[in-house]
Structures are given as C-alpha cells and as structure tokens.
Amino acid sequence: MATLVGRASKQALLRAHSSIIHQKANLSFKNLSKGKKWAVAAFGTLTAGGVGLAVALNTAVLASDLTLHPPKYPWDHAGLLSALDRASVRRGYQVYKQVCAACHSLEYMYYRNLVGEIMEEDEAKAEAAEIMVVDGPNDQGLMFERPGKLSDKFPKPYPNDEAARAANNGALPPDLTYIVNARHGGENYLFSILTGYCDPPAGVEVREGLHYNPYFPGGSIAMAQALYNEIIEYDDGTPATTSQLAKDVCTFLRWVAEPEHDTRKRMGIKAIMIFTVLLTSAYYMKRAKWAPLKTQKIAFKPR
C-alpha cells in the first residue's frame, strides 16, 4: 500500500517537473510571507481608519442636543426633476418685500433678476422705481437721489451691520440671499423657525428681548414671530395663512439662493438619458474587449 502511494506521489512529482510549468497567481492572504502579511494588515487598518476619520469629520457638530430638528416637508420642488412653483416664488417675493425686508437684506439680488423669472420687464421696472437710490456725483459734484432702475440692487434696511445691531437689541438679522443653503435643513429649517414660535416650556428662562423657538439652536431667538394669518393680502387671492406665507417665502428664498434651479434639473434629464446610453455602451465595450484576455490561460514554457 505504502509503496503504491509512494510510487503514485513520485509519479505526480515527476509530472510536476515536466516541461510545462503552470503559473498560478496565489493572491490569498494565507500564502503571503510574514512581512507582507504585516504590510497588508497595516494598509487595511490605515484605510479603515482614514475612512472613519473622514466620516467623523464630515458629521455635523450640532450646537445643542436640546434643539428640535425640523421635520422634512414635502416641498413640491424637492423632486429630482421638479421645478420651482413660480406662482409660489412670486407670492414669496411679496412676503419678503412686505414683511422680511424690514430687517433682512437680500444683498446680492438685483431688480433685473426678477425679469422673466417671476414678473415681466415693465412690472420689474415699476418695482425698482418704488425705491430711491443715491447716485452721483452730478456735474456739480453732488450726490443725488433718483428712482431705482433694473440694474439696482435690492435696498438694504440698514446702512451697515452696526446700525442693524443697534436697531435690533444687539442681534444682527442675517442677509437672506443664500440663507437656504447656509442653514442645515434648508427650507425645512426656515419653515420650522417661521412657524415654530411657542411659549417656553417650564423651567426654561428666556432673556428680556428674546423669544422662544425650539427649532433655533439654543432655543432663544432675537427675531420675534413675523408671520401671522392675513398680515398681507396676496395678489392672486391665495388665502394668506401663516403656513402659506412661510411656505411661499421659503420657496422664494430657495429660488434666490439657487436661481439656476430649474435649468439644472432640465439639464439633469438630458444628463441621465445620455449617460445611461454612454455608460451601458462603455460597459459592453469593456466586456467585449476583455473577453479574449479573461478567457485565456497563459502558460510559461521554458525551452
């Protein structure tokens, strides 16, 4: 028996030493040398650690655990291919102009930005003409006031930040141009702030001149509740409830922060369709070109 096994294995060994040597890539961890094992382990640990660190650094550090996080509302421009509701944006402009503009600026907005987006040119010109702008100097070297033009910026409620703070009990009303992108939660946060005012819970003290809002980090906000039912009357006859006002002004501020919103989504359809075709054909081509290589067995044949 033993001789039989020995002969068989000898023959197997002899066969292994025949002229063809099969080369096989041994890529399993078990077959690596000790040093290589260490290197692989160290590399793996470093990669995992790096990914973990990146995730940890990207996680938002929230100011307070006691802050109420805004719920997600079903905005009708939230879909992948959904455009902004321009009627809502237009109503939101009315809300901004009649309510928010008393304290908040839209520093980077010009009257020309309204043309062809929420109103016609003559209407935007009339809007601009409502404000007075300091221009000059004239031929006597004096500054003068003139009605606004399409090329003018939206008026600022305060000449500078210090004046704004002095008028608001030391709190600075932030510029609203990019506020939707500048706050966690975007429109949801703004909507919650605008509609979330309530009495402070027992044990929570709110300082003089501040107001309680559970959605604001820390709970105490300098801005008083601004939106109430029927505080303004809409042009198009929409009932001006508090939530309607808040929804419209949030939609407006989304448009202000992201005027390219609709164009971007229009391009999105094209990109999705074109890249589906391109990626599919690229994948097919890769398979087709690699198929002969992948199905080959490469042998080393020393002479």
Binding site: G79, L84, D85, D236, D262, I269
Partner: protein
C-alpha cells in the same frame, strides 16, 4: 431579419459610412438633427412633469388676471 433589411443596411453602409468624407458628414448632420430632437424631447418631458409650475404658466395666469381687471 429579412433580405430587405439587410439590403437597406448595406445601402446605408455603402452610401454613408464607407468613405471617411461621407462618414464625417453623416456625423455632423446627424448631430444637428439628434441634438434638436433630444432637446425637444427632454424639454417636453420636463414640461410634462412640471405642468403649471414654470414661469410660462405663471405668465399666462398674470395675463389672465390683468385682462380680468381691465
């Protein structure tokens, strides 16, 4: 695949794709028509998804309201 379709494909190949000059011309002219059709098609889809929400719809509403006031 009938004989007919094959002959059409062969004809297209012989008249358009075989020579580099006509092949390049086919690409240029084809791009023109493809891009137009693609833009119109995707634009139609976008307008269908967002019916009544865009500025052109708002403009119609505003005109209606202005006509009512007069």
């Amino acid at each position: 695949m009938g004989v007919n379709t094959v002959s059409i494909a062969t004809k297209i190949y012989q008249t358009l794709f075989r020579r580099t000059s006509t092949f390049a011309l086919t690409i240029v002219v084809g791009t023109l028509f493809f891009e137009r059709a693609f833009d119109e098609g995707t634009g139609y889809i976008f307008d269908r998804i967002n019916a009544g929400k865009q500025y052109k719809d708002l403009k119609k509403q505003l005109e209606l309201r202005a006509a009512k006031e007069e």
